[in-house]
Symmetry: C2
Subunit: 449 residues, 2 copies
């Protein structure tokens, strides 16, 4: 029987999961591949052996170059994460004639051009199902299953950590810091959560999906990125109660006649939207094709076994092509290095907005605010003025007991119709300079299909 | 440049959509395939040419055998639907050395063994993404993207027609017949809706998904099938209001240590379940893998362009293998004709139940009913006795205005804990024989994860 040799680099959580599946599903994998998938060598900085997983001493190198030099290794599985040495490992592996499976969205987003270009030149494959959406087969769905389509739009909940935090803030009224601590204690956030809570991890994943969808490199710097650290549970509560909205950190990209829009930010969605039922560590990705219409992929976006499921599915698919002798004849994704995408400027993004103004409670404030919005061409969809501190007795019953940030200020809630961000920003800047302004206006986009 | 020749059989709605996409996406398809995909011939009983789609007179045969005999045709695209002549077309095409793309769930479900077996023997491929879930790439997701997993369970809203009807019954309080008429008027139901409303179309699709998932033929006759013709809008309203449930027609299959459970029937789901947001013609399929956990695929389950999207994606994937010369070296799906699956008997299905009893309003009825359930080992989760005609004044405010089917009868609503169906059936049969029984008990399963 023919064999395909793997070299696994990184024996952390996901790497261990991969070894487990390769072991427990050996017979099924052999049948699917038409040959045996055999792990020839491992590489890890710390682990030297794990006999319970069949990882024997002597098969684990400290230097990844030993795996690249091994002629029995056909496929390198890169599971170290981060930008370096992951980039070097992948590029050197391709140069050494190996195919690559990786779960690393960061290195792909940052070095797409170099990695995909090198794979094409070397006639080798790079597979990366686990890079986006954990165990959800969304890369394959986009790249193969929807291949007949021109992709119009992608909207995703792409990061489990922030989704967990927003779920807890919304359900339990926790502040951001409290919800983050809970996420860390529950194993849903790392000790340094920067990439997650600032939206960078979502931006990595959106860049990867968009680069596949639109046939050119959507760079990390092309993605407007805003995290969730400034989200106030007050707005979650008000928007849910008064407007029927739930908040999610979304990655959104779209193509408008060759112009690419790409952004990551918190956004309100109507509670009837399926995404508002996506809780905790789950991810959901909506892809809109011109023929298929909207398709949603949903599942666990992180975790040992979901990520390992995606890595091993890639290994199976790739190993099949290695055995057939066709691996690399055609590239993994359509990519033209000369195709330069034009990127839509942030000021031209069209969005509806939720705006919370904090003002002195004086007559004429609402009229002044709506006047400034009107001058910028921003039209108002609905107004709600819930919290006037010095008219306590007049407050409607339903808002009793609501927390107030400043007993001397009033809050005015507005939702707008769709308008260019440049206009919204200009209006809000002007409103924040009014003598009646007590705090910076809270601006949160609304995604309403 | 190398070419792959198609023969398209059936120029109805989906066939026309396929031709449209092949035309409009020609450049992108050529790039993905590494060669040109060219439709060499068509076959249709009625259409002779469609110049606006590039279908010239002289390229359309009446007899499909002319396409099978054409050496320029590499792939037959079967879009006629139904059992025959679809079965003959597919089997003869394989025998003639052609690969096959089909959207036909009926023929696959009924003749899986013969079709998949013939493809294996002939070393040819049969692809059928459009057979389940319209434009949703769920077949590929199950077969390739989740290939690393042992599949535990599949739960799907697999039929758009019944989902449309149940949506309308639930939202607008329509009776089944009224909602069916509306579906027909809106183009969501055919003039003969038997296969849809009796659950047979869902059973076809569940049989196909299950045969892939469990590696053996799950026959149509192995699927317990119950439709929606008997659903009463009263139960939709009561279950929503009193228990927070929504009703969907589900296809469910699971593997329990080599024993396969497969069933199609209406089921209540908690309103917090993502499936309850699936409206109208949309489908959703949940697949639970041992490593991936639960993954959901969602999108348009029918319609010209969604189905054509799936067919063309299959064509692209297959054409790539034809050009590489590898098509058919490995079978499409894992299938062992000698693997005989054991099928769980209906009486052993474990389900929670919603039961609505219609009884004379006499003291001791509830005690009698709960006693009979208890004797069968069925324990009660909750009881609600909403409609006692002769205690009008005592009815709680919230149920005023609720329709009543019989002014002299009382309704008792119960939900049960999980119990084997055999026990539930036996208890209900006994309860329906009580002298106080006014009508057959309504039994609807509850799917609560």
């Amino acid at each position: 029987m023919r064999t395909v040799g793997l070299g696994i680099i990184g024996l952390g959580t996901v790497g261990t999961g991969v070894v487990k599946i390769l072991h427990s599903r050996r017979a099924g994998i052999t049948e699917r591949v038409g040959g045996e998938v055999r792990v020839e060598r491992f590489c890890d900085k710390v682990v030297s052996s794990k006999p319970e997983l069949g990882i024997r001493a002597g098969t684990v190198s400290r230097d990844y170059r030993e795996l690249l030099a091994d002629p029995k290794v056909d496929v390198i599985v890169e599971l170290v994460g981060g930008y370096e040495p992951a980039r070097s490992i992948i590029l050197e592996a391709l140069k050494a004639g190996k195919h690559v499976v990786t779960a690393n969205k960061a290195v792909l987003a940052k070095h797409w051009d170099e990695i995909i270009g090198s794979a094409q030149k070397a006639g080798r494959l790079v597979y990366f199902e686990a890079a986006v959406g954990g165990g959800i087969p969304v890369i394959q769905g986009l790249n193969e299953g929807l291949a007949a389509n021109r992709i119009r739009r992608i909207v995703g909940i792409l990061n489990g950590t922030t989704n967990f935090i927003l779920s807890k803030m919304s359900e339990e009224g926790l502040a951001f810091d409290e919800a983050l601590k809970l996420a860390q204690a529950s194993g849903f956030a790392e000790s340094d959560p920067t990439f997650d809570v600032q939206g960078i991890d979502s931006a990595h994943k959106l860049a990867v999906l968009s680069s596949i969808a639109y046939g050119g490199w959507v760079k990390l710097s092309d993605v407007y990125t805003e995290g969730i650290t400034h989200v106030n549970p007050l707005d979650l509560e008000l928007a849910r109660r008064e407007f029927g909205y739930g908040l999610k950190l979304l990655g959104i990209s779209a193509e408008h006649d060759g112009l690419i829009e790409a952004r990551v930010h918190p956004a309100f969605l109507p509670l009837s939207h399926p995404f508002t039922t996506v809780k905790n560590e789950y991810n959901a990705i909506e892809i809109v094709g011109d023929a298929s219409g909207d398709v949603i992929f949903y599942g666990k976006g992180a975790g040992q076994m979901p990520a390992a499921s995606a890595v091993v599915s890639d290994v199976i698919f790739l190993a099949r092509q290695v055995i057939e002798g066709t691996a690399g004849k055609l590239p993994t994704v359509t990519y033209d290095e000369h195709k330069k995408l034009r990127i839509l400027d942030r000021k031209d993004f069209l969005s509806k907005y939720y705006l919370r103004f904090t003002t002195k409670d004086k007559p004429g404030v609402l009229s002044k605010i709506s006047g400034i919005l009107g001058e910028e061409g921003v039209s108002i969809s609905s107004v709600y003025q819930p919290m006037v501190a010095d008219r306590e007795s007049q407050r409607p019953k339903s808002v009793k007991g609501r927390p107030r940030t400043d007993p001397h200020a009033a809050h005015i809630l507005l939702t707008t119709h769709s308008a260019p961000e440049g206009h919204i920003q200009k209006a809000v800047q002007e409103i924040d300079r009014l003598p009646t302004a007590c705090a910076k206006t809270v601006c949160i986009r609304i995604e309403e299909p």
